[in-house]
């Protein structure tokens, strides 16, 4: 409890410093804006409905990307985890793909898929794919071979083997991958919007940058950070819960 109070005090002190420094001649309002201006701009966005509309655009891109990327990642992860020939062909490619700076590929995707929804969905999916792929693949590969062999001897085949043996062993890895993927899907949507869009949170931030309006950049980033931060905290709780309730046999 005491630490919570102290944290709040530190945050308030930092905000006060941010608000007060330009008044005593340190720092320029033009560059660092002020918390009051940022808060009132966010309030304007909320009351005019602009915030909800733009959050909706970005969230839709992130969710579509998350769903498509997770589905593809799970399919490829399963194929590589369960089949040696496929894993020998694909895993080296995936390792290289995972090392690439994928967010930098946004201009290419915008050139291919246009300014609208689909280019951001593809960008988000391409980021999510690798988290889920490696979550599923490593989850299956790091599982106990003894357990799988025993289940086979007892007649475990196909879906039953997957559901009762592989999945419980992989769930921790999958959840860890998913937790990272959510934040990154959202960020990928925002970065895609920086590079070509006409709505969304990334558009608001980029527009602020073009207008040299630091208040708008801060306000947009604050909204993104709060959303991603909340998602992270929620998913961490869910992850702990899921791991506890699906304990490995």
């Amino acid at each position: 409890m005491r630490v919570v109070i102290e944290r709040v005090l530190v945050s308030v002190a930092l905000l006060a410093l941010w608000q007060g420094l330009p008044a005593v001649g340190l720092g320029d309002r033009f560059f660092i804006s002020s918390p009051v201006a940022v808060a009132s701009l966010i309030w304007d966005w909320i009351s005019s409905g602009e915030l909800i509309a733009n959050v909706w655009v970005t969230a839709r891109e992130a969710v579509f990307g998350l769903v498509i990327g997770s589905a593809l990642g799970a399919v490829f992860g399963l194929a590589c985890g369960l089949n040696d020939a496929i894993s020998r062909a694909l895993v080296p490619l995936m390792t290289v793909g995972n090392a690439l700076p994928r967010l930098a590929f946004a201009p290419l995707l915008i050139a291919w898929f246009g300014f609208g929804l689909s280019s951001k969905v593809v960008l988000a999916a391409s980021v999510v794919f690798f988290f889920i792929f490696f979550g599923v693949y490593s989850g299956i590969r790091s599982g106990s071979g003894l357990l799988v062999a025993n289940a086979r001897i007892l007649g475990g085949r196909g879906l039953a083997l997957l559901w009762h043996v592989h999945l419980p062993q992989a769930i921790g890895w999958i959840i860890a991958g998913l937790r990272l993927a959510v934040g990154y899907a959202f960020a990928a949507a925002v970065i895609g919007e920086y590079l070509g869009s006409d709505s969304g949170l990334g558009y608001l931030i980029e527009y602020g940058k073009e207008m040299l309006d630091m208040t708008q950049v801060f306000a947009g980033l604050a909204v993104v950070m709060v959303i991603v931060g909340c998602l992270d905290v929620i998913l961490r709780r869910v992850g702990t819960y899921a791991r506890r309730s699906t304990a490995v046999p």
């Binding site: 062909a89 490619l93 290289v96 930098a104 201009p107 940058k209 950049v217 980033l221």
Partner: protein, 261 residues
């Protein structure tokens, strides 16, 4: 017997070659689709055009300056970020009260890839190299801090207690226990952060720069020249892959031998 031995060998070679086969097939499909009119080369470009452009950039030396700019931005930000992350991680570790106070800020910093802050960096530090260095610094700092702090907390209590019993003070502990233990975590953080460092630098260059690989890509985007975008991304990807697989991966593998604790 001999026959099956040959079969095994053929299958092994096929297995090792299959990733390359897939890449070659994809490139051929792309070339074929654009050559025979299934796809529009104005948007998709084609492998032969991109390869020719890459070769021309290498031959004329045009690419050298831009590679140099991006690499210098990453190097400066990366080194500064690693050092800053190490210092703060040790600070957090030896002063847990400070760590508890700063925890919410670290969570916020860590929640999203730092490349998202690129417009902020460009506006605050301009379109020169400084904004890219700062963004890379922030990205690398966060990763190093979190990895190293988590690693330090995992140092075995028994070893620490034994060292204390043998009369080690705080300084001896840091020198003989914590710093050697930290090396492994620092190397692993360096490997994780190299990709993010390049991403941060290139995304920042996309949003406002006058040179660098990201600028090439952005120029290709605004002039609708997909071959420029792809050739620029090719160099970015090539540098990351070379650094990661030839420098940091062997370093990390070797690092696991140092892991005494």
């Amino acid at each position: 017997m001999r026959r099956s031995g040959r079969m095994v060998r053929v299958r092994r070679i096929l297995g090792a070659a299959s990733p390359w086969l897939i890449v070659v097939m994809l490139l051929l499909a792309w070339q074929g689709a654009t050559d025979f009119g299934f796809a529009d080369p104005r948007y998709l470009s084609r492998p032969s055009t991109v390869a020719a452009l890459i070769w021309e950039w290498v031959r004329t030396g045009f690419i050298l300056r831009h590679v140099e700019v991006t690499v210098v931005e990453v190097l400066v930000g990366y080194s500064a970020g690693t050092v800053a992350g190490m210092l703060v991680a040790f600070g957090f570790f030896f002063f847990p009260r400070v760590a508890a106070l700063c925890d919410p800020m670290v969570v916020v910093l860590n929640a999203a890839p730092r490349a998202i802050l690129a417009p902020f960096a460009v506006l605050l530090f301009g379109i020169g190299v400084l904004s890219k260095m700062m963004l890379v610094l922030l990205a690398v700092f966060t990763i190093t801090l979190l990895n190293l702090y988590a690693g330090l907390k995992e140092v075995d209590r028994t070893i620490v207690d034994n060292a204390r019993v043998m009369g080690a003070g705080q300084r001896d502990l840091a020198r003989h226990v914590y710093i050697p233990a930290a090396l492994v975590w620092i190397v692993s953080a360096m490997r994780i952060s190299i990709g993010q460092a390049f991403t941060a630098a290139i995304v920042c260059e996309l949003l406002g720069a006058t040179e660098g690989l990201g600028w090439i890509v952005a120029a290709g985007q605004s002039a609708v020249k997909p071959d420029w975008i792809m050739a620029g991304l090719f160099f970015a990807a090539a540098i990351v892959v070379v650094v990661d697989f030839l420098v940091l991966a062997p370093l990390e593998r070797r690092g696991s031998h140092w892991r005494v604790f």
